[in-house]
Amino acid sequence: MADAAAPVLAIKGLTVGLPRGADRPHAIEDISLRVDPGEIVCVVGESGSGKSVTAQAVMGLLPRELPATAGQILLEGEDVLAATPARLRDLRGTRMAMIFQEPMTALNPVMRVGDQIGEVLEIHTDLSEADRRQRVLAIMRAVHLPEPERLIDVYPHQISGGQRQRIMIAAALVLDPALLIADEPTTALDVTTQAQILKLIRELQERRGTGVMFITHDFGVVAEIAHRVVVMQSGRVVETGTREDILRRPQCDYTRMLIASVPGLVPPPRTPKTGPVALETVKLCKTYGTRGLLLRGRVVRAARDVDIVVRRGETVGIVGESGSGKTTVARCVARLVEPTSGAIRIGDVDVARLPESRLRAHRRHVQIVFQDPYRSLNPRRTVGASIVEGPVNFGVPPAQALDRARRLMALVGLSPDSLDRYPHQFSGGQRQRIAIARALAMEPELLIADEPVSALDVSVQAQVLKLLDDVRQRFELAVLFITHDLRVAAQICDRIAVMQRGVVVEQGLAAEIFAAPRHEYTRALFEAAPGRHAEFGRATTAA
């Protein structure tokens, strides 16, 4: 790297306060880090580590409640904290720029994308309108958007998520800023799109010599893109080093724990399960769409001819990107939606066409753990009330149900005495444990886990996965595990089914599919998995 050059960004001893009554006095405390020209510095940390606050401080976007109380932020030698609002406006866009996690909300939905890129030029330069359009087209070509002449005049909702993120990057880079701050820019994207965006950021940054401060929680992304890594925990920098140093020779315990928590891509050896079949779907189809009286509405075939078998004691993963139909299959099996055609055999009953009145008796056999632990528990009811609700529905005396709930809380690693607390008093991981306890209280045969760890930090994720694997063994559960994350699938699934656009394109033992994917889509998914060459998961969940 350009050692001789002055750093693009130097943060020295930055401290940002939190409002009174927060769980700690400072959002970030005594942070020092440096970004050199042409360098990608990854700031890694779990939620609440202060990485986003650091980015906001650099951009001068700190909310009033979070005042910077000490330290300096030097952007090419100029202190951003001391800059006037007018000077800050000048700096943003020209010397520093930022891209965000969610490109749909970061773009103005009622403005053509070309105008949104052009806005930066309009504010900071005195180019004519024709020149501006030329510059916009040039930068759109540079971020590899197809047909820039056509895309320049479309609205954000007309293009895909990956294209929207490219537009964001184009708007950020059009004036060649010295510093680009990327706040989790690929977290909301599918894995194949993520790989393309990461490649683009690296390519542009190399060509233009931009310094990039890349905020992420994903060590796979770090392994893909970082030159140097800054690890943050609870508002402090705990370790700084080159990518190789951090990934291969982490010094700090926290970093070691984080890296060890990242699931590996190689499935551990597992013995094939031969228990009785708990779930079998036969040619399951679900079509969404409006049936108009005269005109045929738009029809989406969310699932087509899906055949999946799950045995007792076995975890079967459905892997796919957004829109692949994996959640539709889960919702059909749980009969939250009615399948259009096909059969769902649970035990020896086909529940696919059962009316709601006859379905109730079968509901207890299938339970579901949802993705978002903040919304899957009723915020107005105590967790105890949530756990005993199901058993009481099926005639278990309340006292007995409560006793069971206490034992289940202990099983999932929570104090039985916290049954009378409300969900907001628990963290995300604890809530997911409660959701698992609620599902287990029904003594189901089949547990559907719909992205159960996607909303959790990596260290918590490992614990919840371990818990799921543990209860699967203990109760000989059949588990249908829906995920977009290949690493998670590799660690927990006996068999996996890969779905693309509603169709299962490949199905088989996890070990075989990971070793030798046959379908080209599966291969593309594996190719795109970030950090696939790095070794992760030295402390994985055992089979």
Partner: protein, 309 residues
């Protein structure tokens, strides 16, 4: 392995966080405090009407017609003694004491406001829950509600009152009917968003019957918005009652209501403006206070408006 075989040991406890109580947050909101104080004041006046130096509000005194505020009248009591009564707000064209009528009128106005709010919220809540949850009924119910909303509230109320003998009950029914669609729409919108929440779906998968599901998981989410909507309905009901009385189709004219008093005073407004002034001021204050209360409640109870750190 069964759950009963599990050990009931104690693991680490979760951390606790505290939230500011709703009551304390309400007490900090100035419009809630001011609105509630005025409403409480009017309610006390209505309740204690006989003890506030009033005389029979329906008593007609042809000798003492159209007196200005502050006029004094000497009353000869049955035991022969004399006492003086001051018409603080004057008298109307039939010689009735306007002060007494305004004080007693608070009763009718507040009773109508509260009854209409409670009834329309209760009826609208049930219809809204059904419309939001039973998909095939939704279209039918909502088109009917759209039809109701298309007719102006006053016109609908006039129609309903004309169907029966005018009285408190008829007026309440007449004001409740046009308010129902507004509540139904609100409740239905909330139900439609809440039914997609994972915790509702989780309740479905543990086999909770639909009526229980609605009461236990969906209904509590409608309480805060309905309290707010209820206050607005209350204010508008008081206003509509006054309008109906003013138009002469509401509560019979001998019953003192703010609208009736104003209707009575309309003919002689230019010479004796106090006939309309006092009930008008009371009406304005009552409606303003209830609206302030509603605004404040919305700001505190509705998380979209509340700014919580």
């Amino acid at each position: 392995m069964s759950i009963e075989a599990l050990p009931a040991e104690i693991a680490e406890g979760p951390p606790t966080r505290r939230q500011a109580g709703t009551v304390r947050m309400l007490a900090r909101n100035p419009s809630v405090v001011i609105g509630a104080t005025i409403v409480a004041f009017l309610a006390i006046i209505g309740l204690l009407a006989p003890m506030l130096g009033t005389i029979d509000p329906a008593e007609i005194n042809p000798v003492f017609r159209n007196k200005m505020p502050g006029a004094e009248r000497t009353i000869r009591n049955e035991d022969g003694t004399k006492s003086t009564f001051v018409h603080r707000f004057g008298t109307d064209s039939l010689g009735r004491d306007i002060y007494s009528r305004v004080v007693y009128g608070a009763r009718v106005s507040l009773v109508i406001g509260v009854t209409v709010a409670a009834l329309s919220v209760a009826i609208g809540l049930v219809i809204g829950l059904v419309a939001g949850y039973v998909r095939w009924l939704d279209g039918i119910i909502m088109r009917f509600m759209d039809g109701l909303m298309a007719i102006p509230a006053i016109l609908l109320a006039m129609g309903v009152v004309s169907l029966s003998r005018a009285g408190l009950l008829a007026v309440v029914v007449a004001i409740v009917i046009p308010e129902i669609p507004r509540v139904v729409r609100l409740v239905r919108a909330i139900v439609l968003s809440i039914r997609e929440e994972p915790y509702v779906e989780a309740a479905i998968t543990v086999g909770t019957p639909t009526p229980t599901l609605l009461v236990r998981h969906v209904l509590p989410n409608t309480v805060a918005p309905l309290i707010v909507q209820g206050t607005f309905i209350c204010a508008s009901a008081i206003l509509i009652e006054a309008i109906l009385s003013f138009l002469g189709i509401g509560i019979p004219p001998e019953t003192p209501t703010w609208g009736n008093i104003m209707a009575e005073g309309r003919a002689l407004f230019r010479i004796y403006p106090h006939n309309i002034f006092y009930p008008g001021v009371c009406l304005a204050f009552a409606v303003l206070a209830i609206n302030m209360l509603g605004d404040g409640l919305r700001d505190t109870l509705d998380p979209r408006f509340a700014k919580r750190v």
